[in-house]
Amino acid sequence: MLITYHHITPAPLAGVIHSQSDIWDTEVTFQEGTSYLVYAPSGKGKSTFTHIMYGLRNDFVGSATVDGQDTRKITRQTWAALRQEKMSIVFQDLRLFLHLTAWENLQVKAQLYSQVKEDDLLAMVERLGVQHVLHKQAQFLSYGERQRVAIIRSLIQPFSFLLFDDPFSHLDVTYLEKAATLIWEKVKAQQASLLMTSLGHEYGLQFDQKLLLG
């Protein structure tokens, strides 16, 4: 799978883009199997970058293609298939169902895949240390616990690209290493790409390419 940005300028950033940006208003390609860190200070469009790739926003100049296909022309049906099989995401704001329990949040995702085993799910839960809050509603979880639930949810499905929109900012150091190991295992096993945005931290993950956003 190949994702290309052709001279994209997001509408909110029009006129404020630095010439040294590795991504905005230039030609950049993301290759399956290569891992990328996209870094920038606050307000330079890190979330916008991820959302364009995930098909959530179209307010930009230029074009983005997924395997040569213009993202704006991809049907809802195809986006759903891409999100089920090719791209997984952890949003910066995590986006859990707050009135569902942690376990139910995982189930919402898991029930899309008949091959997912409950044991594998529980193993991940245990590795990231959220088993004690599994049956608590997400709204009563700490931010760090919610983050770990969101990470597990993103690892349930098969993917070619794993998009992390700066999700580690509040993660407890104890679990950072465990999370990094788990993520890395999953990415390697599927020969997929990890594509993470951050302020500049690498959080102990190894990236093949580091791109400055702006």
Binding site: L56, A80, L100, V108, K109, Q111, L112
Partner: protein, 393 residues
């Protein structure tokens, strides 16, 4: 997969919304179906003879002279011939009166012991000939067709005054035969009489002409008599020459037929108003329901968006929502049917107790109207749901 979706969509708020919408839908549907059913039934009740030819009963005016001189107000053969020659007359039938006395002993259903009188007309003047009509010597019972007015007199006059139970048409027709003594100059016999039907046109107790002839000949006075009343079929009961003739000859006409059709017209207007109100109610409930459903979807907007972001398709969500919506509507419709049956039973009992003979059961048109309404409701909401899902997607 549905259990988690249930939890996402079924918050306390949406449950309240749906309860509210469901009650609105239920009341609207109930109102619509009830007014449709009553409209059809009452319409039928008041227009039973719209396609029947017009019959008029004429008699001589009874004056004080008749009373003083014991002179019968009757038609002479010349007068009858003159009448049948008139252009507005299609055919005439003569009433024959009993020349014998009759006494009913009553029974448990019709508990009145009374002197009786009978008349007969040719069968073709009956309009509707009841089953079991006709009589031959040796038959078990003599069929009688009674005037609807007599039953009303009994129910609302006699029975109320005497504290006796009111009786409906169907009860009367199912009642055991009445034992009646018939006696005259030539002797006495006992016969069983059964009321086999009601006539709204002829204010009399009618027996088959064959029985009347036989009884007059064998029990009664056996004399030739001129008829006192004549029933005639006319081309147009409102024809001016008919009215002129009646005036000129000093005849008397039963005008209640005209009045009955006026009353029927008024009931029709009332039912039309109820029907219109019913339609209004239904539209209102449809709007309330659709709005409520939209609110529910709007409240679930974030959830729907997130599900789509997690890889759910609009089809999956649409199928889930529609299935549950249809289940909900079906439940409400089922509840409405139950309430409708209950309401109809009450209304029909009330009508029958008031002497109006409504049939039991649900009109097929009511079922059709109900199905159309439900289909329209489901259609509108599915359409609006699809649009919403696509907007969120």
């Amino acid at each position: 997969m549905n259990s988690t979706l249930h939890k996402i969509f079924r918050s306390k708020q949406t449950r309240g919304q749906f309860l509210f919408a469901g009650v609105g839908f239920l009341l609207g549907l109930l109102m619509l179906l009830l007014s449709t059913q009553l409209y059809i039934q009452v319409n039928r009740l008041f227009n039973p003879e719209t396609n029947f030819p017009d019959f008029i009963i004429v008699s001589k005016k009874v004056s004080a002279a008749n009373t003083f001189f014991m002179a019968r107000a009757e038609f002479t053969p010349e007068q009858l011939e003159d009448l049948s020659k008139q252009t507005f007359v299609k055919q005439i039938g003569l009433f024959k009166a009993n020349q014998f006395a009759a006494w009913s002993y009553g029974n448990e259903v019709i508990p009145i012991k009374t002197e009786l009188f009978f008349e007969s007309v040719p069968d073709e003047m009956l309009g509707e000939i009841p089953r079991k009509w006709g009589w031959e010597e040796g038959d078990d019972f003599v069929p009688v067709v009674m005037s609807q007015d007599f039953l009303n007199l009994y129910n609302f006059g006699y029975a109320l005054a005497k504290g006796l139970p009111q009786i409906s048409k169907s009860t009367v027709m199912l009642a055991p035969a009445l034992r009646v003594k018939i006696y005259g100059p030539q002797g006495r016999i006992y016969v069983n009489m059964k009321i086999v039907g009601f006539n709204e046109r002829i204010p009399s107790m009618l027996v088959p002409e064959s029985f009347m002839d036989w009884a007059n000949q064998n029990i009664g006075a056996a004399r030739e008599e001129n008829p006192a009343r004549v029933i005639m079929q006319v081309t147009n009961p409102a024809a001016p020459d008919l009215l002129e003739y009646i005036e000129a000859e000093g005849l008397q006409v039963n005008k209640d037929k005209l009045q009955a059709s006026k009353a029927g017209g008024m009931v029709k207007v009332a039912m039309t108003v109820i029907g219109i109100i019913g339609v209004f109610f239904v539209l209102l409930s449809l709007v309330i329901f659709t709005m409520n459903f939209k609110v529910v979807l709007a409240e679930a907007k974030d959830e729907i968006r997130l599900l789509l972001q997690l890889g759910y398709t609009t089809q999956m969500l649409g199928k889930y929502l529609i299935t549950n919506f249809v289940k909900f509507i079906s439940g409400v419709a089922l509840l409405t049917s139950g309430l409708l049956a209950l309401a109809l039973w009450q209304v029909q009992t009330f009508f029958v107790e008031s002497g109006l003979e409504l049939e039991g059961g649900i009109e097929p048109a009511v079922i059709v109207v109900g199905l159309i309404f439900i289909t329209v409701c489901v259609g509108i909401n599915v359409w609006s749901m699809q649009r919403t899902l696509h907007r969120y997607g």
